[in-house]
Each structure stands twice: as structure tokens, then as C-alpha cells.
């Protein structure tokens, strides 16, 4: 509560600084004339406001991290702390309880000893909060005063404020990149732990996947061969789904760009794009409850052996349908990017529309289409919900599309849901799988973007 108060006070100071500096700059401008001033009054206002708020808020952020340590130190120095248990675990339990009671998060104590420390916690906390608040206020004031003292006609507030804006925006874009780096780092670390237990070659090329047997104590050898998972992923995401998505997506793109009348295109294209926004769990539900049983009864009627109620085909078909809008919109873009001159050139030679599409538009748009397909594949192999619901869990190495297979993402979900200890090979295997998935999709995306980019340059 006090923290929020002080933040509000700093922001209020900033607002006051803005008003005062702007008023002063306006007066100066009237005195010396508009042309003799470098920056506009508002920009001076922002300069002062930034100097008032930013250092003080930055200090508060640092203080919030430092304060618990200081409070802790102070409490430990009190006489009551001397009688605390010696071992770290019980001492920290008491301290944590005392702190919780002091802050009002907990009403009563399990361990009466913690009550002896509540008062000193309370005192220390309020003391350090007050110190922090006062320091922040001083900093806000000092910053504001310093900035205000620089409000002169020739002062370049404009470019300085602009620079702060630039750094803010840069920071915002760096957050995404740094987060990605963090994810990669954590994946790498956990994977390294996994690979210290399981030979990477066994993992990448082993044909048998049975993490349960490893968890049950049968040893890590021959339990983590991920090839059936890789195969299942490729079978569903890159083969079955693409057999559905590429022709249908391409044909719908051709229809929309070449044949559809503008009115038709106007309602059809948005509908296709809305499909891309349907949550994948809905597709998964459809795959598991409608498509999979239908395929199974079809397979048993026809007499295909090994038909299962969860099948690669069910997951792949539905995933293919899910990917159609994706392929279609990429293909649409690249066909539309082929210059009208190409089309005219072909038509003027006496080619029909379909000849023009086949012989000129598709070849010219092909790199873009290929790029789109690669992005679609990378999406499909990372897709989780549909395969979790419809593909199954059995790590079969099979070519039969009616049989149940499992994928990298399905197994990751299996390995990580529920109560898990995070130091067994079974759990860590999920990170190794994640790393493989990450690397593969990253490569696919890089290749796809390069292909698309190269193609765009050709027409500019």
C-alpha cells in the first residue's frame, strides 16, 4: 500500500514538474521569441517529468529487491533471533511465518516462536519502507530540480526526450528477444542434465520409447529412443496434414485471387482467415470425437488391420484442415505479388486463365508458396492440442495411418503434467524433446523466411 502511494506521489511530482517546466518554457519563449528557442514548451515539460519520475522509479525498483535482505539482516540482529533453531530449514520456516504475520497475510502462528519476531519484522519493514520512500522522493525532487534548472531557450529538450523514447522502444523490443534467449538457455541447461543421464545418440536414433520403464527403475538404457516420436510428428504434421493442406490451400488461394468475383472474395477470404483463429483445442475435440471414430469404423469395415480409436490419420486430417487458411493466405499473398504484367503478358499470348495460372503464376509464386508451406509445417509439428486429443500415446513406429502414433508435443505434455520430480531422466526428457522441436522449427522458419525474402527481391 505504501509502495503504491509512493509511486503515485512520484508520478504526481512528475506531473507537477511537467506543468511548471512547460509554464516556464512558455514564458521564456515569449521573452526571447519563438525562433530563438530550440524546443517547444511541451518538450521541456516532458524532459522535466522524465527526470522527475524515471530515476526515482528505477531506485524504487532496486530498493524493492534490496529491502527484504536489509529487513532480514535487522531482524536477525535482534536478541529474539538468537533463540531460533540452528538448522536453516526450520529457521527459515519460522522467519517466513513471522514475516507473513507481520504483513497481515497470515492470521495466526503454527510455531509460537515466530510471534516473538513479528514486532521486529514490522518495525524493520516500516523503517526501511520509510527510508526508501524518502530517498525516492528526494531523488524525484533532485532530478526534477536539476532538469528544471536546465530549461533555457537553447536547451535541446526535444532531442533528449526523443532519445528516451527511442531507448524505451528498444527496451520493449529487447524483452521479447531476451525472453527467447532465456527459454533457449533453460532448455539447453535441462537438456544437458538429461544428456548426462542418457546418451544423446541413443536419444536421437533409438527406436524404443518407454519413459515409464525408466521411471519404474529399469534403467535409462533403451528407454529414451525418440525416433518413434519424431516419426509420429513428421507423419502427422509434415505428411498427412500437408497432403490435405497444400492442395486445398493452394486451390482456394488460386480461386480467390484469379476466379472469384470481388464480392465473393470479400466474404470468403475473411471466413477462411477466421478459421485460423479457432482455438486448436476445438479442432482437437472435433478430431477426437468425430473424425477418429469415423475413421476407425471405416478401417474395420474395409478390413484394415491395426485400426485404433486414436489414429495418425484423424489427427493429420484435422490438422491439415486447420492449416488450410495458413497455406491459403501465404499462397494468396505470393500469387497477388506476381505483377499484373506477367498475367497480362501470358493472356496476351492467347493463354487461357488456367494455362496462365499453371505456367506463369504458380512458377513465379512458387518460392513464396514454398516458404508458406515451410512455415505451415513448422506450425504443424509444434501443434499440440489436436495430437494430444486424437493421435494417441503409443510410441509406434508404423506406416499405417489408421494406427495410433505419438508425437514430440504429446509426449512433452505427458512427461510434464501431474506431480513430477524435476531431476529424473523421465521429466528431463521433455526438455530434450523441446530442444529438438525448437531447433527444427527455428531452422524451418529461417529457411522459409529466406526463401520468401529472396523471392520478394526479384520483383522490386
Amino acid at each position: 500500500m505504501t509502495g503504491l502511494m509512493i509511486v503515485l506521489i512520484i508520478l504526481a511530482l512528475g506531473a507537477i514538474g511537467w506543468i511548471v517546466a512547460r509554464a516556464r518554457a512558455t514564458r521564456l519563449q515569449i521573452e526571447v521569441g519563438r525562433l530563438a528557442t530550440n524546443s517547444r514548451p511541451t518538450q521541456h515539460g516532458w524532459y522535466v517529468a522524465l527526470w522527475t519520475t524515471l530515476p526515482a522509479l528505477a531506485f524504487l525498483a532496486v530498493w524493492a529487491n534490496v529491502m527484504p535482505g536489509l529487513v532480514h539482516g535487522t531482524v536477525m540482529a535482534t536478541p529474539a533471533a538468537r533463540s531460533l533453531p540452528a538448522d536453516d530449514f526450520s529457521r527459515n520456516a519460522v522467519l517466513a511465518e513471522a514475516q507473513a504475520i507481520a504483513s497481515g497475510a497470515q492470521a495466526g502462528a503454527f510455531n509460537p516462536q515466530s510471534l516473538t519476531l513479528v514486532d521486529s519484522f514490522r518495525a524493520a519493514t516500516s523503517r526501511y519502507s520509510a527510508i526508501g520512500a524518502i530517498l525516492a522522493a528526494i531523488l524525484a525532487f533532485a532530478g526534477g530540480a536539476y532538469a528544471f534548472s536546465r530549461v533555457r531557450p537553447a536547451f535541446t529538450a526535444r532531442s533528449r526526450v526523443e532519445r528516451v523514447v527511442m531507448w524505451t522502444l528498444l527496451g520493449a523490443s529487447l524483452i521479447a528477444i531476451i525472453t527467447t534467449a532465456g527459454i533457449v538457455a533453460s532448455l539447453l541447461l535441462e537438456s544437458l542434465r538429461f544428456f548426462s543421464m542418457v546418451n544423446p545418440l541413443d536419444f536421437l536414433f533409438g527406436l524404443k520409447w518407454s519413459p515409464q520403464s525408466a521411471a519404474l527403475g529399469y534403467g535409462n538404457e533403451n528407454a529414451f529412443g525418440a525416433v518413434p516420436l519424431f516419426w509420429g510428428t513428421v507423419f502427422i504434421g509434415a505428411i498427412i496434414a500437408m497432403i490435405v493442406a497444400i492442395p486445398l490451400g493452394l486451390m482456394s488461394a488460386i480461386y480467390l485471387t484469379q476466379y472469384a468475383r470481388p464480392e465473393t472474395r470479400k466474404w470468403m477470404k475473411p471466413i477462411l482467415e477466421v478459421l485460423a483463429g479457432v482455438p486448436t483445442v476445438v479442432y482437437g475435440y472435433f478430431a477426437a470425437l468425430t473424425v477418429a471414430p469415423a475413421l476407425r469404423s471405416f478401417a474395420s469395415t474395409v478390413g484394415i488391420p491395426g485400426a485404433s480409436s486414436e489414429s495418425a490419420l484423424a489427427a493429420g486430417l484435422v490438422m491439415g484442415v486447420m492449416i488450410i487458411p495458413f497455406v491459403s493466405s501465404m499462397a494468396d499473398d505470393s500469387i497477388a505479388a506476381v505483377p499484373q504484367a506477367m498475367r497480362d503478358g501470358s493472356l496476351a499470348m492467347g493463354a487461357t486463365t488456367s494455362e496462365t495460372i499453371r505456367k506463369v503464376l504458380i512458377p513465379a509464386a512458387l518460392p513464396g508458396v514454398v516458404g508458406g508451406v515451410l512455415l505451415a509445417v513448422s506450425r504443424a509439428i509444434g501443434e499440440t492440442m489436436i495430437v494430444v486429443m486424437a493421435a494417441g500415446l503409443a510410441a509406434n513406429l508404423t506406416l499405417n495411418p489408421f494406427a495410433s502414433v505419438t508425437t514430440v508435443t504429446t509426449q512433452m505434455v505427458q512427461l510434464l503434467t501431474g506431480d513430477q520430480e524435476f531431476d529424473s531422466a523421465k521429466t528431463l526428457a521433455a526438455f530434450a524433446l523441446g530442444l529438438v522441436l525448437f531447433v527444427v522449427t527455428l531452422l524451418l522458419n529461417i529457411v522459409a523466411l529466406r526463401v520468401v525474402k529472396k523471392y520478394r527481391e526479384a520483383y522490386e
Binding site: 468475383r261 504484367a341 496476351a348 499470348m349 505456367k359
Partner: protein
């Protein structure tokens, strides 16, 4: 020129063109004959390109375009029910303002039309058509050793001659050229003009240009367009030396345009 002696290759009578509500061409009548190069001149936006595109129905590709009046090729109505637009365009070829070779090899660019229309009976025959077309377009010597290079890798002038070779390859009767030199430098322009003079007599050629010197150099007949109407037409020498209409004279002497 004795246009009454022979049947004109193409003739237009009372042609109106609309884009939606807007009328782009108003009541244009003109004949195009085999022996002459016909030039359409006029300021930008006067409708000369629009009119040119009605001659092989390229305006069909614009959904809002509508053509009224009668245009015939060898006496046959090209907007008639019996006319197949694909065949029409094989007989009336077109070269565009900006060179637009397909992103294929030089060979494939020229072979495109013959393949579509099944003009070659075999590989050797096709080779021959490609060579003949490239020779006619004056490009053979420059590209004969690199027929498998991409057509888009050629220079602008070469690309335009490739497009002419591509048009010639289907053996059309009429070639429409829509400002074929406006994207080219003077040397490349000179080559194209030379080529047009060489092609004259084999094909009926119609060229749209807003370069009046070019019209004077390559054409025998000229039509002057202004604000969607054809103001006057006649032998090129007459139009340039002794125009009947005041507007033509103003345009030719550079008063506007």
C-alpha cells in the same frame, strides 16, 4: 494512302469504352492495314492505350470495363459470339509498356506461345521457331549462347526485344505495341524502332507512343487522340506537317501534352 482499295486488317467503328460509369473512349472509328505501321499519339490519359487494348480484348481482364461499337479482324467481329478470345489474342499479339518477360529462361519465354497453341511438332521444330523469332526480333546474336539464362536477367532493351520475339513466335497477324520504348534508354529505343521498321509488311503493327519523333520515324499512318476521342487520322507526314485540326497542331508543336 489508298485505304479504300484493300480490306483493312482491323477496323473499328463507333467504339465506346466505359470503366464503370466513366467513359474512357468516345466514338472512335479507325482502320489498321497490313502494310503500314499505325501510330496512336496524344497526351497522357487521352485513351490511346485503352483503345489499343480493345483491339485484342485485353480490357476483358478489367472487370468494370465495357466496350460498345464494332471491331473487326478480317471482317469478323472480335466481340462477336463466335470469336474465341484465346484465338483472337494468338492472332493479335501485344507488347507492353514495361518489358514483362516471364521468370523463365530465354528459350522458354519464346517457346511459351508455340507450346500453348501447339504450333511445334517436335523439339527440333520448336528450336527452329525460337531461333527464327529471336532472329526476327534482332536478339539472336546476343543470346544464342545463353538461351538457358533467365529472361529477367537481360537488359531492359533486350527484355523488350525478347517480348517482341515472344509475340512473334505465335505468328500473329497484328502486333499491338503499348509505348514499347517508354521504359528504355535512347540506344535500346533506336534498336526497337529499327526492329519495327523491319517487321513492317509482315505484320500489321499498331504502336501507342507519346514520343512524337518516334511516331514520325516508325509510322506511316498516325491517329491523334485527345480526351477519349480520336481527333484526326491520316498519313503520318500529313499529320505532322499539315494537320487539319487546331488541337492536333497545338499538340504537335508542343503547346500542351
Amino acid at each position: 494512302m489508298a485505304e479504300s482499295d484493300t480490306i483493312p486488317k482491323m477496323s473499328a467503328r463507333g467504339v465506346n469504352v466505359f470503366y464503370g460509369e466513366k467513359q474512357a473512349i468516345q466514338d472512335v472509328s479507325i482502320d489498321v492495314d497490313l502494310d503500314n505501321v499505325t501510330a496512336f499519339i496524344g497526351p497522357s490519359g487521352c485513351g490511346k492505350s485503352t483503345f489499343l487494348r480493345t483491339l485484342n480484348r485485353m480490357n476483358d481482364t478489367v472487370a468494370s470495363a465495357r466496350v460498345e461499337g464494332k471491331i473487326t479482324l478480317d471482317g469478323e467481329d472480335i466481340y462477336g459470339a463466335n470469336m474465341d478470345v484465346v484465338q483472337l489474342r494468338a492472332r493479335v499479339g501485344m507488347v507492353f509498356q514495361k518489358p514483362n518477360p516471364f521468370p523463365k529462361t530465354i528459350y522458354e519465354n519464346v517457346a511459351y506461345g508455340p507450346r500453348i497453341h501447339g504450333l511445334a511438332s517436335g523439339k527440333a521444330d520448336l528450336d527452329q521457331i525460337v531461333e527464327k523469332s529471336l532472329r526476327r526480333a534482332g536478339l539472336w546474336d546476343e543470346v544464342k549462347d545463353r538461351l538457358n539464362d533467365s529472361g529477367t536477367a537481360l537488359s531492359g532493351g533486350q527484355q523488350q526485344r525478347l517480348c517482341i520475339a515472344r509475340a512473334i513466335a505465335v505468328d500473329p497477324e497484328v502486333i499491338l505495341m503499348d509505348e514499347p520504348c517508354s521504359a528504355l534508354d535512347p540506344i535500346a529505343t533506336a534498336k526497337i524502332e529499327e526492329l519495327i521498321l523491319e517487321l513492317r509488311g509482315n505484320y500489321a503493327i499498331v504502336i501507342v507512343t507519346h514520343n512524337m519523333q518516334q511516331a514520325a520515324r516508325v509510322s506511316q499512318r498516325t491517329a491523334f487522340f485527345h480526351l477519349g476521342r480520336m481527333v484526326e487520322q491520316g498519313p503520318t507526314t500529313e499529320i505532322f506537317t499539315n494537320p487539319r485540326e487546331e488541337r492536333t497542331k497545338d499538340y504537335i508543336t508542343g503547346r500542351y501534352g
